[in-house]
Every structure is written in structure tokens, then in C-alpha cells.
């Protein structure tokens, strides 16, 4: 089986400080990878390097493109990388305001990616938008409302719909449940788990919430100070942590 994404020795430095160092892993189609760690451990830096939003200082990110097979996304041309960014990749931001156009209606938000890849039929675009709003449990009559009229949870779901409408194969998520209350969080996780399984998506989820990775991720990577300190199957890492920092992380979760 060919991997979907092969990351080789990614480095990113902010001046003398380490963003992330020597990160390597392989992601196979249909697999969900969790990245956990404390604030400032380099999770988001790594994710942004993988998604082409930051340029890494070293290393390769090989992605299995539809046309040409495995290709290094770091050295590919910018138009090509941006094309991937709106077709095969999706990026779900922690704050939906970063990922949505707040001045554009929900339907327009979902339709933007379709129009960016050449859809020019209003009826079709709108039909698809309504269909996707339905899949993320947003009522059809909200299609012409602006995201600013939506609650935080709805905005996050709208952001997910907007990203998945072009049928991406790899989704990057940066704290998708951050800032949501627990019941909304649970529904969102439920929805995400359903979509990931249904569409056979691969995903890389950055979070500091261990419950989220327990529910969604097949494999787990624990980061500290820019380095990966432990990797393994999610249950294995969470139930039998080997590294001192992972042990600390797991034991820090508050029990209700």
C-alpha cells in the first residue's frame, strides 16, 4: 500500500529557537493521526509546514498526488501547492473566523471552493452547498445567512462543510474543538468521526485534548519542545505511556 503522506526530517527554526525538529512519519490512506503536546511544543508549526502554510527549513513532505504520484510539496511550484490546498487538502482552523469568510453567506462559503476549481453553474453550486449544510446538521433555511449570525459550534461545522465539499483526501485540523463547550464538542466529534469514516478521509489532528484523540485518532504522536518524544497506537500511548512527558500529560487529565 502506498502511503498518502510521507514526512521526512521536517525542521523549522524561528531564528535560534526550534519550531519543530527532525519530525518524520508516514500516513496511510484512511488513517487518522493525532498530534498532542503542550502549548509551544511545535504542534501547530508542524501542521502549518505540512499544509504548505509555512516553509520548513529542511526536510521533505511527500504527498501522493492524483496525477503524478508521490511528490514533494515543499519544493513543488506555488500554483501547484495552492491547487492541492483547494482540492485534495482541507484545513480546519481552531477559530472558524480564520477559515470562513464572515461577510459571505453560508452557501457562498461552501461554494467558494467549488467555484475556485471551476464550477460555473449557480443551481449546481447551491444544490451542493445545501446538501453539505445538511450533512453537517445546519438547516437548509440558514443557507443565505452570514456566519456571523451562527453560534460557535455552527460556525465550526460550516467550516468543516466548506472544506470537505471538494472531496479532499487529507484534512489538517488545528484544535477543531477548541473553544467549544463540552456538549457541542461531543456532537462535533461525533460528526467528524462519521465523516472521516464515511468518506475514508485521512486526517492529521493537532490538539491538546486527549479525549479528542482517543475518539478520533488511530495513531498518536506526542511532541515536546519541538521534538517527537513518543509515537504509537493511540490506546497504547495513552494507556501505557513510556516517556516521562507523556506520563505527565496523561496523568494531568482531570477526572470528573
Amino acid at each position: 500500500m502506498t502511503p498518502l503522506l510521507k514526512v521526512e526530517n521536517i525542521n523549522k527554526f524561528y531564528g535560534g529557537r526550534i519550531g519543530c525538529a527532525d519530525v518524520s512519519f508516514t500516513l496511510y490512506p484512511g488513517e487518522v493521526m493525532g498530534i498532542v503536546g503542550e502549548s509551544g511544543s511545535g504542534k501547530s508549526t508542524l501542521l502549518n509546514c505540512l499544509a504548505g502554510q509555512l516553509e520548513p527549513d529542511g526536510g521533505r513532505v511527500m504527498f501522493d498526488t492524483r496525477a503524478e504520484g508521490m511528490k514533494d510539496t515543499v519544493s513543488m511550484s506555488e500554483p501547484e501547492r495552492r491547487m492541492l490546498g483547494r482540492t485534495d487538502w482541507a484545513f480546519v482552523h481552531q477559530n472558524p473566523r480564520d477559515g470562513l469568510r464572515m461577510g459571505v453567506s453560508a452557501g457562498g462559503n461552501v461554494g467558494e471552493r467549488l467555484m475556485a476549481v471551476g464550477a460555473r453553474h449557480y443551481g449546481d453550486i447551491r444544490g451542493k452547498a445545501v446538501d453539505w449544510l445538511d450533512r453537517v446538521e445546519i438547516a437548509e433555511d440558514r443557507v443565505d445567512d452570514r456566519p456571523s449570525a451562527f453560534s460557535g459550534g455552527m460556525q465550526q461545522r460550516l467550516q468543516i462543510a466548506r472544506n470537505l465539499v471538494t472531496g479532499p483526501r487529507l484534512v489538517f485540523m488545528d484544535e477543531p474543538t477548541g473553544g467549544l463547550d463540552v456538549s457541542v464538542q461531543a456532537r462535533l466529534l461525533d460528526l467528524l468521526r462519521g465523516l472521516v469514516r464515511q468518506m475514508g478521509l485521512s486526517a492529521i489532528i493537532v490538539t491538546h485534548d486527549l479525549a479528542v484523540v482517543r475518539l478520533l485518532a488511530d495513531r498518536l504522536m506526542v511532541m515536546k519542545s519541538g521534538h517527537v518524544v513518543e509515537t504509537g497506537l493511540t490506546d497504547q500511548v495513552l494507556d501505557d505511556p513510556q516517556h516521562a512527558y507523556t506520563q505527565l500529560l496523561v496523568s494531568s487529565v482531570l477526572q470528573v
Binding site: E78, P79, R82, R86, R101, V104, S105, G107, G108, G111, E112, R113, M115, A116, V117, G118, R120, H121, Y122, G123, I125, R126, V143, D144
Partner: protein, 292 residues
């Protein structure tokens, strides 16, 4: 000493005109591409056509016949002041006749009379960037132009249809030039968009935003639309009250405080020419009677 003697010909110094001409040539070579230029302070406020005036100044020769229109009319403030400006500083002949003019500076209209080869049409442009209100970052819009990422332009049209049931953008309607650059045609009514595929050279100047762009003659100019909501060049569904023309763009004029209104050609030269030919609209009077 006449006032024209106190200024260099057409107000701007030769080096500045040369700089603007370079930008114009580059703009003509890459139709629809916004060329940055070092816009000068002009003796009029921004928004009054400082970009168009600079482009006109760089194009004028002593033999030119200049016509200036504002919303189609030769006799409104903006048109009169710019025409006077060039009469004083360049001492060029001026005309109101569209076919007679060699250089026409316009604000927000294209003349109804078809322009011919050898004529130059200069537009005053307030905001040259068609993506400006969708994407506020200049770095990002430039990247979108260079990578030809114009999906966002259709998001605006989508929003129009979603909110109003049709494409409600009625002026500054975005166009795609020669299959490449998306361009803001300046705030001309979309009625004028089909006329942009013309024999004359079209030059666009934005003074405050310091951009020049251009269309060479016979360039393909396609108004953006959806397959199921095609582009329509709309105008008020009347004919001109003075000259009876049904094919020209109309201004709505309120004539009293009871809501009475009349529709007249916005292109004054076109209207006057038709009336001189004997065409009379519903509220018009034949020219001879008028004079008597």
C-alpha cells in the same frame, strides 16, 4: 503671456510623461494587468480623475482634439473643469462631438457612438482592484492575479443571486480580458460592458491607487457570469424623452416633488446629434421651435 506658456505642455513635466507612457505601453502589452506607476499630485482632489488626467496628459499632442465626459455628459462639473484644465495647460482644441475627438477622457461611461481606430478612450478609475472588497490584502490579490485564482470573483456574483435572485451588480461589473486577467472596468454601467470590445485604445488611470491598465483595440472582454444566470446588459426600460432613442443608456431625472420623472440619454452628444437629425421623443420639442 498666455497661461499655457507658464506650464510645460499638458501640465506634467516631460520625465513624468515619459514614466507614464512606459506604464501605458506595459499595460497595453499585458491587457488587463495593473501596472504600478508613480502617480503625481495633481491640482485637483483625488476622486476627481487625477489618474485619468495624468494618462490624458501623457497622451496629448498639440494636434489632438479633446473631449471630456462625466457620466456621459459634456456639461457637468467634472467634465467642464478637466476640459478647462487642458485648454489652459495644453491649449488643445476641444470638442463635444464623439466622432470628431481624438482623445476622450471619460468618467463612468462609454460614448454611445461607436469609437473608431485611432481614437483613445481614457477612463478615470477610483478602485482598480476588482477583488478589493473580497480580499483586503494587496499581497494576496496580486498573488491571485498572478496565479489566475479568480474563484472568489464568482463568490461575489453568487452572493448577488442568493440575496437578490439575480446578479445585482449593475456597475463596475468584473470582466475577463483576453482569457487571462480579471479587470475592473471602472464604474461604467454594465450596459457598457459589451462595448469594450472596440476599435479604439482604452486606457485606465487610477491616481490615488497609482495603477494604470489598458486594453488594446479589439481585445476580448468577457463579462463574468454563471451558466444558468448569463450576463445581461441592462438599462431602464424606456426610451429617451428628448430624442426618442431606445438603444441608449438613460438617466432618470426627477422633475418635481410629486414623483414625476423623465428618462433622458446620459450621453449628451448622442442625444443632441439625434435631435439635430430630427428625432423627437415624447416630451421633446423639435430643435427649430426651441430656438424660436
Amino acid at each position: 503671456m498666455t497661461q499655457s506658456g507658464q506650464y510645460n505642455f499638458a501640465y506634467l513635466d516631460e520625465q513624468t510623461k515619459r514614466m507614464i507612457r512606459r506604464a501605458l505601453l506595459k499595460g497595453l502589452a499585458i491587457p488587463g494587468y495593473q501596472v504600478p506607476f508613480a502617480s503625481r499630485e495633481m491640482p485637483m482632489p483625488y476622486g476627481w480623475g487625477t489618474g485619468g488626467v495624468q494618462v490624458s496628459a501623457a497622451c496629448l499632442t498639440p494636434d489632438d482634439r479633446l473631449k471630456v465626459i462625466d457620466q456621459g455628459a459634456d456639461d457637468t462639473t467634472n467634465a467642464v473643469s478637466i476640459r478647462k484644465f487642458f485648454q489652459r495647460t495644453a491649449d488643445v482644441a476641444v470638442t463635444e462631438d464623439t466622432t470628431d475627438a481624438t482623445l476622450i477622457q471619460t468618467r463612468h461611461r462609454i460614448p454611445e457612438t461607436e469609437l473608431a481606430e485611432g481614437q483613445i478612450l481614457v477612463y478615470q478609475v477610483p478602485i482598480p482592484e476588482p477583488l478589493r472588497f473580497l480580499e483586503p490584502r494587496e499581497t494576496e490579490t496580486r498573488k491571485m492575479h498572478s496565479l489566475e485564482e479568480y474563484g472568489l470573483m464568482h463568490v461575489k456574483l453568487y452572493e448577488d443571486i442568493a440575496r437578490h435572485g439575480q446578479i445585482a451588480t449593475s456597475y463596475a461589473y468584473p470582466v475577463k480580458v483576453q482569457g487571462r486577467y480579471v479587470m475592473d472596468p471602472s464604474p461604467i454601467p454594465k450596459f457598457d460592458n459589451p462595448k469594450m470590445e472596440m476599435a479604439a485604445i482604452q486606457l485606465f488611470g487610477a491616481g490615488r491607487e497609482q495603477r494604470i491598465y489598458a486594453l488594446p483595440p479589439y481585445t476580448d472582454v468577457v463579462s463574468l457570469d454563471f451558466e444558468d444566470h448569463p450576463f445581461e446588459a441592462t438599462k431602464a426600460n424606456h426610451s429617451c424623452a428628448l430624442c426618442g432613442a431606445s438603444d441608449s443608456y438613460l438617466d432618470e431625472v426627477i422633475t418635481d416633488d410629486q414623483g414625476t420623472r423623465m428618462y433622458v440619454c446620459s450621453d449628451t452628444d448622442y442625444c443632441a446629434t439625434r435631435r439635430a437629425q430630427g428625432h423627437v421623443g415624447l416630451q421633446g420639442v423639435p430643435l427649430e421651435d426651441n430656438a424660436a
